[in-house]
């Protein structure tokens, strides 16, 4: 599979992984580049044992873990974290767009506050991966995935309700 077509298909997915780990847009861009490079390198070793999406997510999250490890002391500057108009918002009223921006921003902040493993599991779930696929990526049992995911979603809902 050509890298260009992988990026075209899964680029937004990689971008969302980067945004779940890094709030600062400059570091987010840097992380996205690192993740894309890692995916490029790792695709050579892809043997088709899982779906391309699962494989890419595994590479992306492991690279993000490395990024977090090396940027542990970097300030998590939320003031730079602004969500621009989402592409799906074209044709919607200004009020709806602002409301949607606000919701997305709140969700991102709540996701970044989760512990690393919970953050990883909940974002992969929101990307449509099954319990089994998430379990393979994280190296935990499917039962644990279910427990952590339910707890994480409950935490997200509580935080989003609290912030409204």
């Amino acid at each position: 599979m050509e890298f260009d077509s992988i990026i075209t298909e899964h680029g937004p997915l990689l971008s969302r992984v980067a945004s779940s780990y890094e709030a600062n847009p400059h570091l987010q861009q840097e992380l996205l580049q690192e993740i894309s490079l890692a995916v490029w390198q790792a695709m050579r070793a892809f043997k088709g044992n899982s779906s391309v999406k699962t494989y890419i997510l595994r590479v992306a999250h492991n690279k993000a873990v490395t990024h977090v490890a090396y940027h542990a002391k970097q300030p998590n500057n939320e003031s730079y974290c602004e969500i621009d108009n989402p592409s799906s918002a074209i044709g919607i009223s200004a009020e709806s767009v602002i409301d949607q921006q606000s919701n997305v921003s709140d969700l991102l902040q709540a996701v970044r506050r989760l512990p690393m493993q919970a953050r990883q599991i909940v974002t992969m779930s929101m990307e449509g991966l099954s319990y089994q696929e998430i379990a393979e990526v994280c190296g935990v049992s499917s039962v644990n995935v279910g427990v952590i995911l339910n707890r994480a979603k409950r935490t997200l809902m509580e935080q989003l309700n609290y912030e409204q």
Binding site: A42, N62, M126, M157, Q164
Partner: protein
């Protein structure tokens, strides 16, 4: 946040997909990839050159070396080879990394191991900064007492070894100390952040 959104966990998935994403510049990525590979080759070349310095000196300047110096350089080459093998062994966790085939739990374990090994490597590099002057001094004393090298040549070489010890070794020690402290801090932060 609107109530209909906050009451439905499934709507979180839809909201998640609505966030704005950044477009990846494949051309810039290609340039970065080439640059990264060049850097990796350069580092490998520097490592190899540092190790090959001794046999190269022995090969290209055999007439300028006394038997004692030949034995001394050969001994140092053997020690350096052992040192490099040891460093590669310490780095075995990072050298064998496979991002695609490793679960995150294993990856986190390897990251921690890599940090610990980097701390050890930095610590041993600091120790090496104390060992090297002793090796230099041993060479000068043995060469002087055994009269293996003419006094003029020995004096010239002693000055060179002294300047090397005075300039490069403290700088290397400081660099290694900073690396040791950096990886200790990173390991502590990583441990605190990663709640498995």
């Amino acid at each position: 946040m609107s109530n209909n959104m906050s009451n439905e966990p499934d709507n979180l998935d839809k909201l998640w997909q609505q966030q704005q994403t950044t477009t990846i510049d494949v051309k810039a990525l290609s340039r970065q990839w080439k640059l990264t590979r060049i850097k990796q080759y350069m580092y490998s070349l520097m490592d190899a050159m540092a190790l090959m310095l001794f046999p190269l000196v022995i090969y290209f300047f055999p007439k300028e070396l006394s038997t004692f110096e030949f034995v001394w350089l050969s001994g140092l080459f053997a020690l350096m080879t052992g040192w490099f093998v040891f460093i590669v062994w310490l780095r075995r966790f990072s050298l064998g990394f496979d991002d695609g085939g490793t679960s995150t739990q294993d990856f986190v374990y390897r990251m921690k191991m890599q940090y610990r090994q980097n701390i050890r490597i930095a610590h041993y590099n600091k120790l090496l900064c104390w060992v090297v002057p002793v090796v230099f001094l041993t060479y000068i004393v043995v060469a002087y007492l055994g009269e293996y090298v003419s006094p003029d040549v020995l004096w010239r070489k002693s000055k060179l070894l002294f300047v090397t010890s005075l300039v490069f070794l403290p700088a290397t020690w400081i660099w290694a100390h900073k690396r040791e402290q950096k990886f200790k801090r990173l390991l502590a932060d990583f441990d605190a952040r990663w709640v498995a």
